[in-house]
């Protein structure tokens, strides 16, 4: 890899057609502007600096507005509760939520809930996104089995996951396994369909190109079909982060002794609204961390999509 890069960069000054073609228009442009070439370059550099500054200002403005929005809502909320315009019992208050967050983190109870739910979600997410794409890609490879399994996959996909919860709890117990299974079930069909769609949408002409070179079906599968499916699989990953979390939380709702879903359920039945909000906030944070992790992995694994 490295040596190739070096050779490549050496190739340029050695005068292939490309750089030679590129430089004249630049100097021509400079002449048209009535400037010596270096002045034109400085000017265009200044231009790109300006563009970068503008882009930065733009994203600052967006972030600033977002901050203002959140601050306004929280401020009004707090103000409303303190002024008795809002019922503190029904709506909680930002200060009470903050209080609970700090306390939950300090005494470790919330940390434990976050840990439990993250673990269930991670395992379910990984399991579902391992089984789903492998089966989805295999179904492309063996069309007979695709036809055989399609109705069953559709049936599984059509079942609301919550309807499976009692069975899952009975079969897998009230511990970690049942939540992981719930999470996996929420993920697996979506991941499977994403991968299968990706494989099916691989370009028939690209496949034919490989056949023209003498490739076997297996080679076409590895060299064209799987890489084409990858971007679909990654879309599936981003989508299923939320599904994995939903599955885990539903599992915790139905039967559990720890986790954010458990905390929300208990707090809700005790009308402890600030506690509900605090756990909800933690759940959102988990979801965001997961999504950005998946994005990061995609960026690392699919370098050809970085520009898009």
């Amino acid at each position: 890899m490295k040596s190739g890069y070096l050779e490549a960069s050496q190739g340029v000054p050695n005068g292939t057609a490309v750089p030679a073609k590129r430089s004249p228009p630049l100097s021509g442009e400079a002449n048209a502007l009535g400037m010596p070439p270096h002045a034109a370059i400085t000017a265009s550099l200044a231009n790109s600096n300006l563009a970068r500054k503008r882009a930065r200002a733009w994203s600052l403005r967006i972030a600033g507005t977002q901050f203002l929005l959140v601050a306004t809502v929280l401020g009004l909320w707090q103000y409303g509760v303190q002024g008795k315009a809002l019922n503190a019992f029904l709506f909680g208050s930002p200060s009470a939520i903050w209080h609970l967050l700090v306390k939950g983190i300090a005494d470790g109870s919330m940390i434990n809930d976050i840990y439990v739910t993250s673990m269930e979600t991670t395992l379910g997410f990984l399991l579902g996104n391992l089984i789903g794409p492998v089966v989805g890609l295999a179904l492309w490879y063996w069309p007979f089995w695709e036809k055989v399994f399609t109705p069953f996959i559709m049936a599984l996909g059509a079942i609301p996951i919550i309807a499976l919860a009692p069975l899952v709890i009975i079969w897998a117990g009230t511990g970690l396994a049942s939540k992981v299974l719930m999470s996996t079930l929420s993920v697996v069909v979506v991941a499977l369909l994403a991968a299968f769609d990706g494989a099916r949408n691989s370009d028939p002409l690209e496949r034919n190109l490989l056949y023209s070179m003498g490739a076997t079906k297996w080679q076409v599968f590895w060299l064209v079909v799987i890489p084409s499916a990858l971007s679909y699989i990654f879309s599936g990953l981003k989508l299923t982060v939320a599904f994995a979390l939903i599955g885990a939380i539903i599992g915790e709702f139905v039967s559990s002794n720890a986790g954010l879903g458990h905390a929300i359920f208990i707090a809700g039945s005790l009308y402890n609204i600030p506690e509900v909000f605090a756990s909800l906030l933690a759940t959102v944070v988990i979801a965001l961390v997961f999504v950005s992790a998946v994005r990061r992995i995609e960026w690392l694994l699919l370098p050809w999509r970085r520009g898009i």
């Binding site: 960069s9 190739g11 490309v18 690209e206 990858l230 050809w304």
Partner: protein
């Protein structure tokens, strides 16, 4: 060249008819088409847009099979996907997830050539086709002309004895097209390869080919066959266009194409790529 007739036939369509659709919708696309390309020949098929030229190529590559008749590639009857021929289309079919070098060497990878060897050969071809410095770029970072150049390198690195080309340069600007036509001509100049090229560009056809086959509009039949007997250097497509006799071939073929335009309007010949010339329903 009397010896050409003795050489083996490498690409052949034998009384091929092709029907698309069924029942009332059935449409005859190819009507009893036969053609042969012998070893070392460059044959171009021209015809009005939508006449079924590309269908012919799809049959040869095994993407579809003929309703009637048989096709042969390298002396073997085509059943299922054909193998071991060079294949270039209007779309370059570079794989987005591979760098240019790895796109160029993919055929070697398919054939199990050792990675280091493939890399060395790939770098050689990349240099030959003027892509030095772009080895580690992704296709999306290259211009259309460069991408098609990489596709040409990818095709030629396998040293194919049979080439099937379907309007490979149609999407390129004029200068790039001339350059690549020249490079294609150079690549086949050794006379070992058999080429079947589909195009609607009559000038391209005349400048590159030993023989031009003119197809009628749908249902496509072979309307005429021209042996191009011009004395010029094929590897210089711009010069070739200035060769004496070139213009006559072009206008003769132009007149044979079933186009709606007035035959005198020779200037409009570049417009043939416009969507199907209207034909009575």
């Amino acid at each position: 060249m009397p010896s050409v007739a003795d050489r083996p036939v490498k690409i052949e369509a034998h009384n091929v008819s092709m029907v698309y659709g069924e029942g009332a919708q059935a449409a005859l696309v190819l009507d009893d088409v036969s053609l042969q390309v012998r070893e070392g020949e460059f044959v171009t098929v021209v015809g009005p847009s939508g006449c079924g030229k590309s269908t012919l190529l799809n049959l040869l590559s095994g993407l579809t099979s003929p309703t009637l008749g048989e096709v042969f590639l390298g002396g073997r009857k085509v059943v299922g996907t054909s193998k071991n021929y060079g294949y270039m289309l209007q779309r370059d079919l570079l794989l987005d997830w591979r760098t240019i070098l790895r796109n160029v060497t993919i055929g070697l990878e398919v054939r199990g050539v050792h990675r280091r060897e493939a890399r060395m050969l790939g770098e050689q071809y990349i240099r030959f086709y003027g892509l030095s410095g772009f080895e580690d770029k992704y296709p999306s970072q290259l211009s259309g002309g460069m991408r098609q150049r990489a596709a040409l390198a990818r095709t030629m690195i396998l040293d194919p004895s049979i080439l099937l080309l379907d309007e490979p340069f149609v999407a390129l600007d004029f200068q790039t097209k001339m350059l690549l036509e020249g490079e294609l001509a150079k690549s086949v100049a050794d006379g070992r390869r058999s080429v079947l090229c589909i195009t609607h560009d009559i000038e391209e056809a005349v400048s590159l080919s030993d023989r031009v086959v003119v197809m009628s509009k749908r249902p496509a039949r072979v309307k005429a066959v021209h042996d191009i007997a011009l004395d010029y250097d094929r590897t210089d497509p711009v010069r070739a266009r200035e060769a004496p006799g070139f213009g006559e071939y072009v206008s003769r073929i132009w007149n044979e194409l079933d186009l709606q335009t007035e035959p005198a309007a020779l200037d409009s010949r570049r417009r043939t790529e416009e969507p199907t010339p209207a034909r009575p329903a």
